[in-house]
Structures are given as structure tokens and as C-alpha cells.
Symmetry: C2
């Protein structure tokens, strides 16, 4: 694969020499997605010169892949006529995404460059939330009536050469309700004169327009679809979500979950943001952690008498806190990912909890025995301290799997993203509860057994 990035020195030379013929040939060799990625590394003046060297079709494809900043700059810099053409002909889903980020003023200005029906399309798509099926869908699809022949259907496809997802045609009735889907392949395989309803797959898989994008992605993945038809609540077909957008959704949702689990508010392209913005995204959970840490500290202060009695207890706070946090994170991560992949839709919550509890008791028994033995062998404290450490470890790991499991499930129930629970939140809660268990138990044992 060739990337424009590799050609940047060459492109700069060609631009300096005004050698646009060679530049055009060079650009023709490259994939629009590569040109788009390369364009972002060029100076504005160079971006404009490159964009001017592209054919209309290429220019539209490159434009679709660019970031908002470059898109806005180019639209303002090219001729009004070309800007109108690009906006009229770009993919309707990418176009709606672009418009959703602009100010009302800019939207009004750009609408003036466009055909009336394309403006109506943008207005229609902007009604839907960006993370729903409606926000993801394109209106570039082919819908036909069920009683036409397969040749007529193929002819209809021929007339719409620019439709992106041409591999399916959708079959609708008079009021536009979705009744079937037929692949281009099945149209070609059918005998001449066959009516569409005979080759179509009736009652196809579909999603409602206000459904969450994660569920759209899961539907496409489960049924191996190249495109998912989107309907209004009355079953009228209003758009389709294509598989390339599904991949983006799967990737974005995973990134979002991963960032949330690490306690940084997720944002696209965090690598490109300024350091101050990144600090702003990372600070909120750190403050929670800070407060939690100070509370933990005060718990130690509250138990100061115990600690003073045997300083050895302090040796084991890092291992108790560290292990509890890690076990809790493991549990909540497994539950959060299970929720994201739709696993828990078919499973009883009680069953999940009791499984994790069983795991916790087992992990607690193994690690508790181990740490108790080691404490005793390393002579980091007396036998009573070793006993207290072992039992505390057992209790705090059992509690950790419980807390790590129950919080994502509760968060899910109250419609908060469960991924948030699988990070600093769980570790902070477990730090506090772990310390309380440890010092209470140790205090009790030291008083009773010594």
C-alpha cells in the first residue's frame, strides 16, 4: 500500500515547480483514504493545491474521509460551485456527520450552495441522535416494489451508479414499509421475468431508527450482514447502516470502554488533543481517587492505636490494597465486557453474581493462605499478624469480586455506562473497604489472641 505521507517531499517539489500534470498522475495512483490521511500533514496552501488536482469523484471521496478542520477549510477555499458539488454528492451519512458539527450560521451558508432535495436529506438525518441507528444510517440505498421483474430491478440499479451499498436492494410496499431484501447476486442468478417477491428474502432483519449504535453493530455481526435496514416505528424504511460504519462503531465503542475503564473520559483522537485538554479529561477520576485515598488515610488514623501497637500491620497495607483492587478490576472488566458483547441478555444476574462470588472465595482462599504463610515465613510480624493478614486477604478478595460484579450490573440498570465502574471507582471503593476489614480484624485478633 502506498501512503501519501511517503510522497509528501515529492508533492512539495511538484507544487514548487507548478508541475500539476505529474502531481495529478501521482494522485491517481493513490487510494482516496490514503490521500485523506496524507492531506492532514500538509500545509493549508498545499492541501488546497492537492485538492484542486483531484477529479470531482476523487475529491468527494477524499473529502468524506477528512477531519472537520480540513473539511471546513477546503469548503471555504474552493469555488462555490465545486463546494456545492462536493456537498451534494458526498455520502449522506458522512455529510450529516459533517453538518452536525457546524454552527447554525455555517449550516445556513452551506445549504445555499446545495440542491434543495439534498438539503432536505441533511435536515432529515440531523433529527436523529448521532449514536443511534438514525445517526449512523445513509439514505443512499435502492428501494423497489415487490412486483417488478428482476431485469427491471437490475435496470434500476444501473440508473443509480453512485449508490455506495449496491449489494442489496430493499423491497417496500406502497406506503414504504419494508417487506423484503434481495441481493444483487440473487437478481443475477434468477431467471428472466421472475418477479422480485420470488427472489427476495422476506421479513428481513432490521433495526428501529432510535436504537443504540452498539445494538446495530451487534445485529450486523450476529447475522453477518453487509448492511442493516433502518425503519421508523411504523416499519417504513428510512435508511441503511453499512458495514464499514459498523466496523467503526465496534472499534469506537471498544476504545470508549477501554478509556472509561482506565478512568479517562473518552474522546476521539485523544492523541491529537493538546496536553491541557488531555489533563482535563484525566483529572476528574483522579480527584475521586484522591478523595478516596485521603479517606483511606483517615481510616488508618482512626485505627491508629492498633497501628501503633504493631507497626508490622502497616507492612501489609500495600499487598491488601493492591490485591483487592486488582481482583475487583478483573471482575468488573469481565462483567463490563460481557455486557458490551450482549452476553448477559440471556443470563440471570443471580447466576453471574454467584459465579463471581465462587471465584472470589476460591481466589481468596488461595491468596489468603499464601500471603499468611509468607508473612509467617518472612517474619514480617508475629503469628497473629500473619493470621490477620491471611484472613483479611480472604475476606477482601471475596468482597472484591462481589463489588466488582455488582457495580457494573447496578450501573447498567440505572443507565450509567458500566465501563465507568471498572476502573478507579472500584479500586477506590475497595481500598476503603479493604482497609476497614484489615484493621478491624487485626485489632480484634490482636486483642483476643495476644
Amino acid at each position: 500500500m502506498k501512503s501519501l505521507a511517503l510522497f509528501i517531499p515529492e508533492i512539495r517539489n511538484l507544487l514548487t515547480d507548478n508541475n500539476y500534470t505529474v502531481l495529478k498522475d501521482l494522485l491517481k495512483e493513490l487510494h482516496p483514504a490514503d490521500i485523506a490521511r496524507g492531506v492532514e500533514d500538509l500545509e493549508p496552501k498545499e492541501q488546497l493545491a492537492v485538492f484542486k488536482c483531484l477529479s470531482d469523484e476523487e475529491a468527494i471521496q477524499v473529502f468524506e474521509e477528512l477531519d472537520l478542520k480540513e473539511q471546513s477549510f477546503l469548503l471555504d477555499s474552493i469555488s462555490r460551485e465545486r463546494a456545492g458539488k462536493v456537498l451534494d454528492e458526498m455520502a449522506s451519512d458522512d455529510r450529516a456527520d459533517f453538518f452536525s458539527e457546524l454552527s447554525d450560521e455555517t449550516v445556513t451558508r452551506l445549504f445555499k450552495l446545495m440542491k434543495r432535495e439534498e438539503v432536505a436529506d441533511v435536515v432529515q438525518l440531523l433529527k436523529y441522535e448521532s449514536d443511534t441507528a438514525g445517526g449512523l444510517m445513509t439514505t443512499d440505498y435502492i428501494a423497489l416494489r415487490e412486483n417488478i421483474t428482476v431485469e427491471a430491478a437490475v435496470e434500476a440499479i444501473r440508473k443509480r451508479p453512485k449508490v455506495e451499498m449496491i449489494h442489496y436492494v430493499y423491497v417496500v410496499d406502497e406506503p414504504g414499509h419494508l417487506v423484503g431484501v434481495a441481493s444483487l447476486h440473487s437478481l443475477i442468478l434468477a431467471k428472466e421475468g421472475t418477479p422480485l417477491f420470488e427472489v427476495m428474502y422476506p421479513d428481513p432483519i432490521r433495526v428501529k431508527v432510535d436504537i443504540d449504535q452498539e445494538e446495530v453493530a451487534r445485529t450486523a455481526a450476529n447475522y453477518d450482514l453487509l448492511a442493516v435496514p433502518v425503519i421508523e416505528h411504523d416499519n417504513r424504511l428510512v435508511g441503511i447502516v453499512t458495514v464499514d460504519d459498523i466496523i467503526d462503531v465496534v472499534e469506537k465503542e471498544a476504545t470508549e470502554d477501554i478509556y472509561r475503564m482506565a478512568g479517562t473520559v473518552s474522546e476521539d483522537d485523544v492523541h491529537k488533543k493538546s496536553i491541557f485538554r488531555v489533563v482535563g479529561l484525566r483529572l476528574p477520576w483522579l480527584f475521586t481517587c484522591l478523595i478516596g485515598g485521603l479517606i483511606s488515610g483517615n481510616i488508618i488514623r482512626f485505627f491508629e492505636i492498633t497501628l501503633d501497637e504493631t507497626i508490622a500491620l502497616a507492612f501489609f497495607t500495600p499487598v491488601i490494597l493492591g490485591m483487592g483492587g486488582n481482583v475487583g478490576i478483573q471482575s468488573s472488566t469481565i462483567v463490563v465486557r460481557g455486557i458490551a458483547l450482549g452476553y448477559f441478555e440471556r443470563v440471570q444476574i443471580f447466576w453471574v453474581l454467584s459465579r463471581e462470588m465462587g471465584t472470589g472465595l476460591l481466589l481468596g482462599a488461595i491468596c489468603g493462605t499464601l500471603v499468611g504463610l509468607m508473612a509467617s515465613l518472612l517474619q514480617m510480624g508475629g503469628e497473629v499478624v500473619a493470621l490477620a493478614v491471611g484472613i483479611s486477604m480472604f475476606c477482601s478478595l471475596s468482597l472484591a469480586t462481589f463489588i466488582g460484579t455488582i457495580f457494573p450490573l447496578i450501573f447498567k440498570r440505572i443507565n450509567v455506562d458500566p465501563a465507568i465502574s471498572a476502573g478507579p471507582f472500584v479500586t477506590t471503593v475497595l481500598d476503603i473497604t479493604g482497609l476497614i476489614i484489615y484493621f478491624t480484624l487485626a485489632g480484634f485478633l490482636l486483642k483476643t489472641l495476644n
Copy 2:
């Protein structure tokens, strides 16, 4: 959408009544993917009865979606003839995955039921590692020569009704080298008599057979491809990877990274494994964490004199450890995800490090000041302790971003999965370094300033 799970009571009744006619009608209404998911909840005897009610075509589609356990059971229970048919006609990539999990003995036995050319196909595909392009690809694709006409190409497609990814035909030269790709759509749009080389897209995006599956997924995502052609090192076309498998890869790689970050060895369907297996997967990193925690404890013991001098220092260990761990996890998560999404291929490592270091200094300055002030306000120790806590926090957060960033990059360089570093590994390292900084600094300040 209908799921077989909802119909299970009905199906059981129909089986008891031997009412296979109604059962067959019911199954026809359902999507093969749904039947497959439902079958897993049935008893073996019922699974077999349902499978017998499916048409050959449906049976094959359902079989492809089942887990190994059900697949093996059904193959052993249905007639040898039908088993042979299912194996001969199922998708070549799913078939290779199935065979890769069987014992040599079973493979030999099943091969006897199959056509010779299909056996050869399995043997060929089993040569490739499962997480490479070769392990992911199917050999069900259409390859044509460049000088045939578009009608002949369409005719060739008609003759292969079972090929799954029919939306592209691949153009190869005499020795089988990939020279182009044409969409079914472009074949239909072209005038009669047009030779294939005029409508094909020459020199298409492709991947080598031994490339990692993550890179295959990234290629498909970047270029919005429905299928990625796979070549041997001499450019001979040997298979294609279809987009439904790409979605699975994106999802699996994200799950794997997420589990690794949480310090549990990743395994498919962790939710279905026995508790003992899950404990086994989770214990290894916990042991590391255990050792790390005990080392941390010994560090406190080493500094015991200091601790004894001012017990107040112990109050702040939780906040120092917790904050360092969280900041480190944030940094390594951002870096790990950046690596997974291919972001760092275009960026200098030095640049990444200096960005994260800048972030760390800023986070450290803010949180260090804050915790110092709070320590002083809450009167959890004297002014010197507050100063020591603030400065230690600043140092340990700055170090945390450095360590959190450098480890994934080093791991990547030495070909270890960087995701491993973004979990218990980083927190354990930071616990130890954080405590050393804190106690050394506090000891020094207490000695000097008091």
C-alpha cells in the same frame, strides 16, 4: 427478531408429540444464526432432532455457527452421508477453524467422509497460523482472467451460486497473480462486450498471507473493503478475508486487550468456563501483584525508623499508591489503544513520550499541590509531612506517566503484547517505586527540616 431461545418450550412440545411438520415450518421462520444460538440450550437428543428437521442448506449454515462441542456431537450422530455433505459444503474458513481444534485421529476419520478436493482445501488452510490473514481467509472466491468479457464474468458468477462473498470478482493472470478486482456492480453497469480489464480496479489493496489479523482488520477498515484479497509472497492470490470475519477480529482483539489490561489471561467465552478454569486464568497476575505487594511491605519495613518517627506518614500511603497506579494505568491504556489502532505507526516515540511526560508534570503539579494543601488543612501530620506528601505526589505522578508510557512501547518493540503492561504490571511497579520515593523523600525532609 425471533430467537430460538424463545421457542424452546414450543419445540420441546413438538418433539414430544413427534410433530415434525410443524417443527419444520417453525424452523423455516428463523434465521440460521438464531437457530444455532438456540440449539446450544437444548439437550443433545433434542439438538439432533432439530438438526434433522433442517434442509441441507439450513443445516450447513447452522453448523457453521455452532461451537466445537455441538459440532462434534452432531457430526458423530447424523448419517455418514449427511456429515460428508455438511463438511464438503460449509464455508472453507469456518471448516478450517473446526478442523484445527480436532485430534489427528478425528481429522483422519472425517476426511474419509469428504471429497478429495475439499480435503486438500482443509489441509492447505491448516498450514497457516490461526491469527494471520491465512488463518482467517476463505478459499471460496471467484478469480477470472482479465481478457474475458463482463457477460462471461457474470456467467461465471451464475455457475458458483454458493460462493459467499460474491460482490467482488478477482482478476488474475496466467500464473495466478492478482492484477485487479471488479465489483459485481461494475460488471452490471458496463456495456456488453467490455473486457474485464477495462472495468476492473487495477493493483488493488491486498495483504500477505502471514500478516497479523489485526493488520488485516485495519486494512479493511481503512479502505472500507467488503473483502481483502490475500496473496502469497509471490503475489499469487490464495484467498480472501470477508468483512464478517473482520468484525469478529476487531471485537476479539478489543476483548483480548481489555482482559489483558485487567490482568486476566484472555480466553474466548470466559463466561462459559468452569470457575476453576477462570481462577486459573486470573491467578498468574495476582501472584505477581502479591509478590509486588510484599516487596512494597518490606520497603516500609526498611524505612521503619522513619515510619516510627512519624506514624502520620502511613496515613498517606494509600493516596500515594492509588494515585500513582491510576495515572500509570491511564497512560499505558492510552498508549496501548493507540498501538492497537495503528496510531503510533506514523508518530515518533520521542514525541509520544514527551507528550505524556508533559501531561504527568501537569497532573503531578495539580494533584501534588492539592494533596499537600489538604494534608495541611486536615492536620493529618505536621507541615513537613504535608510538604513531603505534596512533593512525593508530584514526583510519583510524573514517574507514573513515564513508566506507563515506556513499558507498552518497550513491550511492543520486543514483540510482547503491550496490553499486558497496562494492568497489574504497571500498578505493581509503580507501587514499589512510589513507596521508595515517598519514604526516601519524607525521611530526608524530616531529618533536614525538623
